[in-house]
Symmetry: C2
Subunit: 180 residues, 2 copies
């Protein structure tokens, strides 16, 4: 099954026309996971390492998967398709205070692009099996990149408001606060 | 200065209509860097840790930057605006063989979204100063997320075709092969 529709970011309607560049993407595939709604879905792949799912890549893009089997981890960029509109201040799952949305990973952002590093378990044709699922079934996939520690890891990081809250991560699940 | 135009992914024209979901985003800001063209630009932020640049966030989105100053590193998602079309097989900068585009970080991809982790040096109003620049001046910014090691780092990674080539990274620059 493929979704056939236009999803227009609410940002287009809430800003003066002509004030921004509009960029149109098309999904290259779809996530197949056991999470059918936001509530109960893990809030980060790093807290869901043992949860297996798959990506179905549309046939037109399958050739682009060549050589991917050599990489143990991939970066998934996807669209938070169950959000609607955005807020510049949000109360994130891991806190009880409002924070600037760009200082959080909340889905309800001006451009609702999700980012998760997942571990590839196997690739069979146009299906990528992976573990580390924090996406809902049916999530449109925008891009896949190889995860490369020398490119992507940074040491000695400060993590702001999260520092006092990160201990809550293993027990927390999505409660649906950012979905329609 | 703001860019005022529609950028329609070539993917929309090269695929049968109705075969995919189209998703429209709008830029939240723009990169200001000393690199005015692709040729000569570092190919990864991890190889350009000492190169400083800034992001101008449009006023409408400035409130979303609250609390970001607590984080030392941020994830930048941006649009490779100088690419045109895409290839499912590409010869990446670090190799001389064709690879599946999703096993590379090449800009000429079905959805040309760039990803770099950069180090924040300061935030002044709507300007984020950072180091680790591998973007060209004028690049539209799509999203900013806090970089959080417990969310985003993975250990014991295999990196496929890059393993025999990564030693080339410090000396390599973009040669313009993926731009118009």
């Amino acid at each position: 099954m493929r979704v056939e529709c236009w999803v227009i970011s609410d940002a287009l309607y809430s800003l003066p026309l002509g004030m921004m560049e509009r960029i149109t993407f098309t999904s290259i595939g779809v996530i197949r996971s056991n999470f059918k709604q936001a509530s109960g879905t893990p809030i980060q792949g790093g807290a869901a390492m043992d949860i297996a799912s798959s990506i179905e890549i549309f046939d037109e893009f399958k050739e682009g998967l060549s050589d991917l089997e050599g990489f143990s981890h991939i970066i998934l960029l996807y669209y938070f398709h169950l959000t609607s509109g955005f807020s510049l201040k949000v109360v994130p799952f891991l806190d009880s205070e409002e924070r600037g949305v760009f200082a959080t990973r909340a889905p309800r952002r001006p451009n609702s692009i999700g980012f998760t590093v997942v571990e590839v378990t196997s690739i069979q044709g146009n299906i990528i099996h992976f573990s580390g699922t924090d996406m809902i079934d049916g999530t449109p996939v925008l891009d896949i990149k190889p995860y490369v520690p020398i490119f992507d890891q940074r040491e000695e990081c400060r993590t702001g408001w999260l520092e006092g809250n990160i201990h809550k991560l293993p027990a927390l699940k999505d409660d649906g606060r950012f979905t329609k």
